[in-house]
């Protein structure tokens, strides 16, 4: 019985959230005025005429962060499973989790030593420091 009530409340909640968002987007598009201007259809770049497409190349560092995220977040998921069952899995589970976390930390230290976590290469960071 309580289950049915809860299913209904969740369903109505989800519908209401999306309904509210649709209402806000829809009403604003109906109520808003319309204006036209010469330079209105150019992307804003602080008053400078834009050059080239906005879908340009960007720093490879962002791919790096994405890869690191996949690696560490998936491994964090294993730890989630261990965390809910700490008592059930006992010391055997603890030793396994310990080894797992040590491997993770070793990987993190390795990444930090090879400079994967530094935004700029160490050599360039030093140059910036000495020049300033």
């Amino acid at each position: 019985m309580e289950q049915i009530a809860q299913h209904w409340s969740v369903a109505i909640f989800v519908v209401a959230v999306f309904g509210l968002c649709a209402f806000m987007v829809g009403l604003a598009s109906l109520l808003g005025g319309r204006a036209w201007g010469h330079q209105k259809n150019t992307p804003f770049e602080s008053g400078i005429v834009p050059v080239g497409s906005a879908h340009q190349r960007f720093s490879v560092k962002f791919y790096m962060v994405a890869m690191l995220f996949v690696i560490f977040d998936v491994e964090a998921l294993f730890l989630f499973a261990w965390a809910v069952t700490v008592r059930e899995s006992g010391w055997t589970g603890f030793v396994e989790a310990f080894i797992f976390i040590v491997v993770l930390l070793a990987g993190l230290i390795y990444l930090s030593r090879v400079g994967a976590l530094d935004w700029a290469p160490i050599k360039r960071a030093k140059e910036i420091k000495t020049s300033s």
């Binding site: 809860q6 409340s9 879908h55 700490v86 008592r87 059930e88």
Partner: protein
């Protein structure tokens, strides 16, 4: 009245609760836009909005009216569908997370077994809002801001999950209601102090609040991913951010400060007091702290917070096992 069975009454009560909680979340998020500006003004020796209504209290109504009647402009160079979808995701994903928060023993929308995991999932979905907004805007500032924002959010989400695992391990469940009842003897803030610190940092970073508002760094990116947004679509990003603040505050109150529990006062008052305190803390952060450099933000997350949460989890596990009666 044969259709008015106890099941129907229960269902109607549950649905009304759900609607009330949703409206309360939206209204508190929207009101926060006024409260924050007022408080920031106060802390910075200026007035803040004080013209509309007594003490500026009707500022919110004025803002909303203005936003509804602004031109709903979708740039011709933008990707129309994704451009419209992004603010909806930004607001909906965080609002949906309010489902899992138990407000009082009798109030709450869903009593999910996977409560906390649902929040992580929604926080993950929220990254798409920023990424879609930046990509669909076809603007260089927007793209850079979106990339920065998603890289930062991803980095801080890695240890946001781990920072709460100590709490989960102590309660032995992801269910929020059970986590609150597990804190009957002692609030989690004491045994899980490091978990609290890292979750607070991660929460600030994931909601892109100052001092981690890199994606919106107005001096460098002149507003980042929502630079091409205007009117109500921009307003939805704005309200979404405040809803995020309310959500993280409510989560902190629930997970680390015993939720609705407390002496003398009724549960709802305790919950609101605790949540309100952390909302004020968020505003104080913005008033007090300068924005760090982007590379410092990233390396702080990876090199300091991530190892700290891992070790915290390990120590928590060891302490639980040492205190637990031997079962095997």
């Amino acid at each position: 009245m044969s259709w008015l069975t106890p099941t129907v009454i229960d269902t109607v009560i549950a649905v009304v609760q759900a609607i009330v909680i949703l409206l309360a979340a939206v209204v508190s998020g929207a009101l926060l836009s006024f409260v924050e500006r007022r408080l920031l003004g106060w802390w910075q020796d200026r007035y803040g909005p004080n013209r509309v209504g007594p003490f500026g209290s009707l500022q919110l109504a004025a803002d909303m009216l203005k936003m509804f009647f602004k031109e709903d402009w979708i740039p011709v160079f933008a990707d129309r569908k994704i451009f419209t979808l992004a603010p909806v995701i930004a607001m909906a994903s965080l609002l949906l997370s309010f489902m899992i928060i138990p407000i009082t023993p009798g109030w709450g929308v869903a009593d999910l077994n996977v409560g906390l995991l649902f929040f992580f999932a929604m926080a993950g979905v929220n990254v798409y809002a920023v990424l879609f907004a930046g990509y669909a805007s076809a603007n260089k500032y927007a793209l850079l801001g979106a990339l920065r924002a998603s890289a930062q959010t991803l980095s801080y989400e890695v240890f946001m999950g781990l920072s709460l695992m100590g709490v989960v391990a102590m309660a032995g469940t992801f269910n929020m209601r059970d986590i609150v009842t597990a804190q009957a003897d002692m609030w989690n803030i004491i045994p899980q102090f490091f978990g609290f610190c890292t979750f607070l940092i991660a929460g600030v970073a994931v909601t892109h609040r100052s001092p981690f508002d890199q994606p919106e760094a107005e001096q460098e990116l002149s507003d980042g991913y929502h630079i091409e947004y205007s009117g109500m679509k921009w307003g939805m990003f704005f309200v979404g951010e405040y809803i995020g603040v309310v959500l993280i505050s409510a989560l902190i109150a629930t997970l680390f400060f015993g939720g609705w529990t407390g002496p003398w006062l009724p549960p709802i008052v305790w919950f609101l007091l605790k949540t309100g305190f952390f909302i004020m803390l968020f505003v104080l952060f913005r008033a007090a702290l300068p924005r760090p450099r982007y590379d410092r933000v990233m390396s702080f997350g990876w090199k300091f917070c991530l190892p700290l949460t891992l070790i915290n989890l390990l120590v928590t596990g060891a302490v639980i096992l040492l205190n637990a009666p031997a079962t095997s």
